[in-house]
């Protein structure tokens, strides 16, 4: 459609919308056309907002009248199906099993509406935000492959241009994993930065809300729109808000970048390893100071994330366990929820002790570095219904491998972002993960944008075919 910039980013679209060179109505129609063409095969959306066209017309009127609300004004954005909305049902991937969620706006939905965004619809989640495959959603880069999860619908929708950006949630990597597998940017800000009020809980102390976007600048823009203290979320923190867009276009010369050589590089597919090592060399060439380190404590982390995530999920779903509703959950999710009852209180608290120690070790690391980089996932998108794949010469469960490099930052609550850094031999996207000290999203975005600016990975688009 004429008038729509080739780069379907907020960064590119906001100025033309503001200037009146593009109508929010035309932009929305273009997104809906793409949904009609491609979502039959991708299955990224579970619901479209009936009144989105009305909202787009209202935005058009406001913009014509010179009332510009900001860079999200008139931008079509999708929400993962675990964000409550007053005008669309929320199912958390579990429709029709006897669980009803309130028809009220989540904090994030409210903030996006206030910013003038057009909430185009709800995207598919792996049920109750468990899991990393998000069935039946498919990966736009190869429809026979998974999009990752649990925010797989959001990642696929953004990658396919069916919306300009989307929100996801991240408990063990559920924003960054699908972002990596679908070739988009995914940001999990520091725990407490973005209110989870109105997001269906999965594990209270691990859950993060955040954006999936086509570029780093858009992630910064959405972060700015979503942050703020919200007493309705007990985890929300009252911290100064920076203008993260100022991080963009800053040089990284002299910035100290840490590379954790154990855990994050123990076992990766060769294509992932090569792409990430190349990215580290490029960051060094741009003037960053690279420091390798090891963090032995990471070898103990899997038990901690299991204990907290399983026990928390079982506690949240206690009513469903008691009433037998879990029998209607997807089999994999039912098993995980039931297993949560088996985690002992002592193990749960040991896991919380471990988090403290891990956070302290990372604090030591951040005395010497400004950010830590590595792969987002050790593998790229795998074929649907494939339980295990070869990684570094050994067969490994895809579910075990997929979150290995992301969950440490849920345990510590640090900000972490995935940015595309190449493709493997099969043409599947690869993600570079950048993590920072708590509340230093500025450094994370600065490195991510500097890397993105010097490469054209984000310009690549999947070759989509209509269903």
């Amino acid at each position: 459609m004429s008038g729509i910039p080739r780069a379907r980013t907020i960064e590119a679209l906001a100025p033309v919308l503001r200037a009146g060179h593009l109508s929010p109505v035309d932009l929305l129609e273009d997104c809906l056309d793409r949904v009609a063409q491609f979502d039959g095969r991708l299955a990224a959306f579970v619901a479209l907002a009936d009144h989105a066209r009305d909202d787009a017309r209202a935005a058009e009127r406001e913009l014509r009248a010179g009332h510009w609300r900001g860079p999200l004004h008139g931008i079509p954005i999708a929400l993962k199906d675990n964000y409550l909305t007053h005008d669309l049902p929320t199912t958390a991937g579990a429709p029709g099993i006897g669980i009803a969620f309130p028809r009220i706006d989540s904090y994030a939905a409210r903030r996006l509406r206030q910013a003038g965004a057009i909430l185009v619809g709800k995207t598919r989640t792996h049920q109750f935000a468990w899991g990393t495959t998000t069935p039946p959603t498919r990966n736009p880069w190869a429809p026979d492959r998974v999009p990752g999860g649990s925010s797989g619908g959001s990642a696929a929708a953004v990658a396919a241009g069916m919306c300009v950006a989307a929100l996801g949630s991240d408990t063990g990597g559920s924003i960054r994993i699908p972002a990596s597998l679908c070739g988009v940017v995914g940001l999990k800000a520091t725990f407490g930065r973005i209110s989870r009020a109105g997001v269906i809980p999965h594990s209270w102390s691990l859950d993060h809300a955040g954006p999936l976007t086509r570029c780093v600048a858009d992630a910064a823009t959405l972060l700015l729109a979503l942050v703020g203290y919200d007493p309705a979320d007990p985890g929300s923190v009252d911290r100064p808000v920076a203008n993260w867009t100022l991080a963009l276009d800053q040089p990284i010369r002299g910035l100290r970048i840490g590379v954790c050589r154990n855990h994050f590089f123990d076992s990766n597919q060769s294509g992932v390893e090569q792409a990430v090592e190349a990215a580290i060399r490029d960051l060094a060439a741009a003037g960053a100071v690279i420091t390798d380190f090891r963090l032995p404590l990471l070898d103990f982390g899997l038990g901690a994330i299991f204990a907290i995530e399983l026990a928390s999920s079982a506690a949240y779903h206690d009513r469903s366990l008691r009433d037998g509703i879990v029998a209607h959950f997807e089999p994999d999710v039912r098993t995980l929820v039931e297993m949560g009852r088996l985690v002992s209180g002592a193990d749960y608290l040991k896991a919380e002790q471990y988090r403290h120690r891990l956070a302290r070790d990372f604090a030591d690391i951040f005395q010497k570095v400004d950010v830590v980089v590595g792969p987002t996932t050790p593998l790229t998108a795998w074929p649907v219904d494939t339980p295990s794949v070869a990684i570094a010469g050994a067969m490994e469960s895809v579910l075990a491998a997929s979150w290995r490099l992301t969950y440490p930052y849920n345990l510590t609550g640090m900000p972490a972002l995935s940015v595309p850094c190449g493709f493997d031999a099969a043409g599947m996207p690869i993600g570079l993960q950048i993590a920072g000290r708590p509340f230093d999203e500025m450094a994370v975005l600065r490195v991510a944008h500097a890397y993105e600016r010097d490469h054209d990975w984000s310009d690549a688009e999947p070759a989509l075919t209509a269903a």
């Binding site: 076992s267 390798d292 404590l297 070898d299 985690v343 896991a351 002790q353 471990y354 490994e396």
Partner: protein
């Protein structure tokens, strides 16, 4: 790997200081004992810890209460078997975590008696 959890040979708190900027291999840094493999990176047999007490999901009803009953899960034998199988990897990972001596580390949990008094706060 059959190790005695009580001796924690792989506990970094009992070995060299961590984190480590010298990029020394962890198995060297931890001193004596078998090197700890990253959870999930080794064959299950190699990772299975010794169990000085019955498994959490023991199905032994010979006068004892099973882990499922303790957990309040009233399940069919088929479901118990499915969960027991799935839980094996969790148990293995928890056994690795238990090797850490974190006696002096408080849990990362904040008790906030003022939460119900915060605007919008819920008890």
């Amino acid at each position: 790997m059959a190790s005695d959890p009580s001796t924690s040979p792989d506990d970094p708190s009992s070995g060299s200081r961590s984190p480590d900027f010298s990029a020394t291999d962890q198995s060297e840094a931890s001193g004596a004992g078998a090197p700890l493999r990253a959870p999930g990176s080794a064959p299950r047999d190699a990772r299975s810890p010794s169990r000085p007490y019955p498994s959490a999901m023991s199905q032994d009803h010979g006068g004892r209460v099973s882990g499922f009953e303790i957990a309040g899960l009233d399940l069919t034998a088929e479901r118990r078997a499915a969960i027991a199988t799935a839980y094996r990897d969790v148990e293995t990972a928890l056994a690795v975590l238990r090797r850490l001596d974190l006696t002096d580390v408080p849990p990362m949990i904040i008790f906030d008696p003022m939460l119900p008094y915060r605007p919008g706060g819920k008890s």
